[in-house]
Amino acid sequence: MTSFSPNKEVERARPLLGTTVNIRVTGMTEAIAHTAITEAFAAVERVHALMSFHEAESDLSRLHAAGPGERVQLDAQTARVLMEARRLSQLTRGVFDVTIGSRLVAKGLLPAPDAHHPACSDANWEDIEIDEQGGARLRRAAWIDLGGIAKGYAVDRAIDVLRAHGVAHGCVNAGGDLRTLGEGPHRVAIATDEAGVTHIPVLEVGEVAVATSSGRANATPDAAPHIHGRTRVEVNRYQVATVVAPQCIHADALTKVVLALGSESAPILQQFDAVAYLQNQAGQWTGIGTAL
């Protein structure tokens, strides 16, 4: 079964992070490619286990179960993601806010966690304190959903593992949030969930991360999936935002900022060396921080 032809492309997929994660490796022997992919999946599984909103043993569930002000020791990876989330909240003055979990539960988009403390309705990102030893405490009870950032982080970890195995060409795609290896050019089609389109948007990129968020996805008549952190109001459900950034954790999180702020997100994107493409309700595309 094992071939030693180095040009072989190996691609595998697993159901993880609530979506399908696929990993493609080219230019390696089949045996090395499979080992690298198996270990990259393990890195994604680890992020899933630590940061799941649903699983009782996750760092998040332990934090939700703790009382206000009670310190919970986190894994270094969870602490890193929460610190990045806080940084984004600071930069966007709360437009990006992972404590919207309670709002998503209220809308039926997330199941209520098995927490002893109901979320305080006006708790926000400033209630999350992280210390230098990777411990966290919630000043007020809050339900944190890392669904808008952890997937991108998991993609970054998987890319690190592939690199450590010497993989120079490939792609990790977690349900549409992806990061490429190698200069390519890689062609990335953007799925917009529109009906009856005549043109398909395609990005040509080098070694980079690309993430897309759509207000159309998973929307029900009563609930759109993205919420403005500061106003706690749903953002326009007919927009699609694609962000290109060096790291997938940033690309993933910044799509929500672009959906909420539109072209005003330009200075924030710049801080992350990122650009964005935004499609409005009428189907027109605008580049933010880049020409079309």
Binding site: R12, R14, T19, G176, A189, A191, P201, D273, T290
Partner: protein, 176 residues
């Protein structure tokens, strides 16, 4: 950040890849990856209507087929090749169970995706008939990456739940 944005006529993509089908692994490759070095012996089961009913009752997931493709693993555990119905297509997947019947790993064997659901719609495709010759952009094969709204893996999760119940009610009770 260097990136180039293109709007490609949909018909160019329809011609290049009407349906994006990716074969990740064959059943044999999955067996080799999920149980390296082990010998797998087929132990296929045809579920009785009563078994199917009790599985559905226990896990609240429909059992679509009475045929269960299961292999016993020499080093302990089971390998099961099965499929679930995705948005439009069957999605074949493989499930590895350890000797206690707990999930060891899951691999999706094949996946079909389209550039939007409409590509599968005959009427939508018909509007591009005859336009194939003047496609302004030549595509070198498939576009292999799609960035888009997250597709739920719910159907696969349900399929795993059904197989775990099938293990409990049927496989675990079989003598070796």
């Amino acid at each position: 950040m260097k990136s180039r944005f293109l709007l490609i006529p949909a018909y160019a993509l329809v011609v290049a890849a009407p349906v994006q089908a990716t074969v990740y692994m064959s059943v044999e490759q999955a067996q080799a990856q999920m149980f390296p070095g082990a010998t797998l012996t087929p132990d296929f089961v045809t579920l009785t209507p009563e078994q199917m009913k009790s599985i559905e009752k226990a896990c609240d997931v429909n059992v679509l087929s009475p045929n269960l493709k299961a292999w016993r693993v020499s080093t302990g555990g089971w390998f099961i090749a099965d499929q679930v119905v995705g948005k439009h297509e069957f999605i074949p997947f493989a499930l590895a169970l350890d000797d206690k019947g707990a999930v060891k790993s899951v691999e999706i064997l094949e996946y079909r995706e389209t550039y939007g659901d409409q590509v599968r719609n005959e009427a939508w495709r018909a509007q591009f008939t005859g336009k194939t010759h003047d496609a302004p952009l030549k595509l070198n094969g498939d576009i292999k990456n799609i960035s888009g709204a997250t597709l739920s893996s719910r159907h696969i999760t349900d399929g795993i739940k059904r197989l775990l119940t099938t293990y409990d009610l049927v496989l675990a009770k079989q003598g070796s």
